[in-house]
């Protein structure tokens, strides 16, 4: 499929530049980044959003996928550790394989760490978008394997936290193994006399 898409005109990449309120736009000239993205090969649409992750932003992605017949989506916003799942779901809703989505981090690793270097930060954001688009050209649809979950839980530690977690899971009908190192459960709490703020016994 990738080879087929290497034909000119087949790749249709949409780039979405997020302002994140002032988190990004306060440092980076998002309009300049968007304008730059338009000049990149295979980019079929560029949209600048106030908050790409919010519903209006996500709707714009979905709309653009349909309108411009996009087959790759690049979002330049925050760290993929927060919103990669959000955007994968969003593009999937619009009928695109979630692995045809690529995220470019221009917040945690750009606007937030170069607050006094506005011009250079904007240049860096452009480079990062260029890199994201370059990677997007080679993205391929993937299918995620589904694995079954063994219906049992292990709780390591029989102090107050472990006891509570084990009880909650067991009350929910799950099999629980509570493993405690000492000969008795209770942990440090069992060695306390009274506990605050209720001033009642610990055990």
């Amino acid at each position: 499929m990738a080879d087929e898409l290497k034909k000119p005109g087949d790749l249709r990449i949409g780039v979405f530049v997020c302002e994140c309120g002032l988190n990004i736009a306060g440092t980076i000239d998002c309009a300049a980044v968007s304008k730059y993205a338009e000049t990149l090969d295979d980019v079929a649409a560029v949209v600048q959003n106030k908050y790409t992750c919010a519903d209006p932003g996500q709707n714009e992605i979905k709309k653009a996928i349909k309108k411009y017949n996009l087959n790759r989506v690049v979002v330049a916003s925050c760290t993929p550790k927060i919103h990669e799942p959000t955007f994968r779901e969003c593009v999937a809703d619009a009928g695109l394989n979630p692995y045809l989505f690529e995220m470019v981090n221009i917040r945690e690793q750009c606007s937030w760490v170069h607050q006094n270097e506005k011009l250079l930060a904007t240049e860096k954001a452009k480079d990062l978008v260029r890199s994201g688009v370059a990677r997007a050209r080679f993205l391929e649809p993937q299918t995620e394997a589904e694995v079954s979950v063994t219906k049992a839980a292990l709780v390591i530690g029989g102090g107050v936290a472990g006891i509570q977690a084990a009880l909650d899971l067991a009350d929910g009908g799950h099999q629980v193994y509570l493993v405690e190192k000492e000969p008795t459960i209770g942990g440090i709490m069992a060695a306390l006399d009274k506990t605050y703020p209720t001033m009642d016994c610990s055990i």
């Binding site: 550790k81 977690a165 084990a166």
Partner: protein, 603 residues
């Protein structure tokens, strides 16, 4: 429930963990034991009772405390004289149920679970480091944990609070706060232990309740009464007459006659120096990560923050998830917290774990590796490299291809980077994708850029951490994220230099933090080879950098970026040009060799 047991090994992945638990020899059958206590009565060995903080003794065979669960005795073999007619064996003689077995042995039990909750708890700070407080030198200086036992009705004094030196109930008592917490002098820990303020407030109220008229003084930096109902409790303590003195004493001495404690403190509210004489002094010892945290961290490939507590997936949005899917954290293992917060977090962890358990299935990210049958020459290196044993090795003789067990592959990419034939493709982290990023980054003014490969779990997250903390650093860095630094192929680095990169930085998890068990070892090996190669080619090896940066190391990330920015400026254009030329020549030579070999093979 498995008490007196420890997790020994964990393998597998979300939904399918295989856990080996060592059930330590208890020497008493907990199902049969009725806690009649006859065994302990005849046991001739007396040792300090850990539960009572050593204020009283227990026997070698003992019940940890009356409410212990399971309610069964345990025999500590280190204390026991042994079942030898000359030595002892008395307990077994008196046990009607015959539930004492001296030949009991550790048992290994295998269990299969879908999710794991880590609630491994905390340890308390040892205040002997603060020598000026005289703990262990002055008998009447005690810790807050010792106070708990001395005031408890189930304690060694049945709740009659006495001081150790003369066993009299004191009329004056002091508390020193933040012992081992909020410290900036290299001793103890820099963080706030969260519970000690309110614990001391509680202690003073217990004293006022048991001994009306007792004079209690609390020496503090700040009283942090931030939780629901906490301020009320603090006010009640003040209304009961407890004196709160803002100032931490510098030195504690003992009056040799009265064994009272004399301390001098600068009251920072009044600015005056004060002298106090107290009959007992309680040190509000801080909370520290479990001393054996490293074991559990390695077993579950968790990370710790700089203070040593286990790190969550996200401090705000995923506070009970570990970065590894299917593993959750609760209680003091994550950070110091009180009972209510521990219970809250435990319920949260249980709820998060229930999502997976109820669903009964989950999806695994499509980032696993695949073999290209046309390129593989059956060398078997991939199977050796794989930290998960997820590759069934190839066979050169029978020309059997290696097989990748998709469910066991975690997607680190070490196999793809090590494969000499480029016959392994990482789904979603393919060579073409990464090379395209390198080319795009270095397409404009390459000599100004710091091309950085950052592993998803630690270094990239460390970069995010720097961002969240708004740590400022120069703009040269351009990151390429891979799942593991073990994915960084030699050719990526050489390609970057060929395109004019002044510096290439490869960064990954610390060896002990590697999220792919041992994949990071391959990073190190590969870097060693690359440094050698660069040196041979006449390229300064120190232009290739390797840094271990953890997810909580935002400070280090920013520091490395600042340092390397200076290094970049020292790389001359001539050097860069030379490197580009020499690597282009190398590539041309390699290509020629390949074509030659191919022609020979065809011939």
């Amino acid at each position: 429930m498995m008490t007196y047991s420890e997790v020994e090994a964990v393998t597998g992945y979300v939904g399918n963990f295989n856990v080996t638990v060592r059930k330590k020899a208890r020497y008493v059958d907990p199902n049969e034991c009725t806690s009649c206590a006859e065994c302990a009565e005849v046991c001739p060995v007396a040792v300090p009772d850990e539960y009572q903080q050593g204020f009283s003794s227990r026997k070698a065979i003992y019940l940890p405390f009356p409410q212990a669960v399971p309610s069964a005795y345990v025999l500590n073999m280190d204390d026991c004289l042994g079942n030898n007619p000359i030595a002892c064996g008395k307990c077994a003689d008196v046990c009607d149920k015959n539930c004492i077995d001296y030949d009991d042995q550790d048992k290994l039990v295998n269990i299969e679970v879908g999710v794991i909750i880590t609630a491994t708890g905390m340890d308390v700070y040892d205040p002997t480091e603060y020598d000026e407080y005289g703990y262990t030198r002055h008998e009447n200086v005690i810790t807050s944990m010792e106070f708990e036992r001395l005031i408890c009705a189930g304690g060694p004094t049945e709740g009659h609070f006495i001081r150790p030196s003369d066993r009299k109930t004191p009329q004056t008592i002091g508390f020193i706060q933040c012992v081992g917490s909020r410290s900036r002098d290299g001793r103890g820990n820099p963080y706030c232990s969260n519970i000690c303020c309110m614990n001391t407030v509680k202690d003073t109220l217990l004293l006022c309740d048991h001994y009306p008229g007792i004079e209690a003084k609390v020496f503090y930096m700040d009283i942090r009464a931030f939780g629901k109902g906490f301020e009320d409790l603090y006010m009640r303590s003040k209304e009961e007459g407890v004196k709160y003195i803002r100032g931490i004493p510098g030195d504690v001495t003992e009056d040799p006659e009265t064994r009272n404690l004399l301390l001098t403190v600068e009251n920072t509210t009044t600015g005056k120096l004060e002298n106090h004489e107290l009959e007992v002094l309680v040190l509000a010892q801080g909370v520290i990560p479990r001393r054996d945290n490293d074991r559990i961290r390695k077993l579950l490939t968790l990370s710790t923050t700089s203070d040593g507590f286990i790190m969550e997936s996200h401090p705000k949005l995923k506070p009970v998830d570990a970065p590894t899917k299917g593993i959750y954290i609760a209680g003091c293992a994550e950070s110091p917290k009180d009972v209510k917060d521990s219970v809250t977090q435990a319920s949260a962890a249980a709820a998060r774990a229930s999502i997976l358990l109820n669903a009964g299935k989950t999806k695994i990210e499509a980032i696993t590796s695949q073999i290209d049958a046309d390129k593989c020459n059956f060398c078997g290196i991939c199977a050796q490299v794989c930290p998960y044993n997820a590759i069934v090795s190839s066979d050169r003789k029978t020309k059997r291809l290696p097989v990748i067990i998709q469910a066991a592959c975690a997607g680190c990419g070490a196999c793809a980077a090590e494969c000499p034939q480029d016959a392994i493709t990482m789904r979603h982290f393919r060579d073409e994708q990464i090379l395209a990023q390198i080319e795009a980054i270095l397409a404009v003014e390459p000599h100004k850029h710091l091309l950085t490969f950052a592993c998803n779990w630690c270094s990239y997250a460390g970069g995010d951490d720097a961002g969240t903390a708004r740590l400022q650093y120069p703009t040269a860095s351009r990151l390429i994220r891979t799942m593991c630094s073990g994915r960084v192929d030699q050719k990526f680095v050489l390609h970057a230099f060929k395109l004019g990169a002044p510096i290439v930085l490869v960064s990954g998890c610390h060896f002990s933090d590697c999220h792919y068990i041992s994949a990071v070892h391959w990073t190190q090996k590969r870097m060693d080879k690359l440094w050698n190669k660069l040196d041979k080619l006449g390229v300064r090896p120190d232009r290739l950098r390797l840094e271990w940066i953890s997810a909580a190391d935002g400070q280090k990330f920013a520091k490395v970026m600042r340092e390397l920015d200076d290094v970049i400026k020292n790389v001359t254009m001539d050097e860069i040009e030379y490197t580009m030329n020499v690597l282009a020549e190398e590539e041309a030579k390699a290509k020629e060799k390949k074509t030659k070999t191919r022609v020979e093979v065809q011939a």
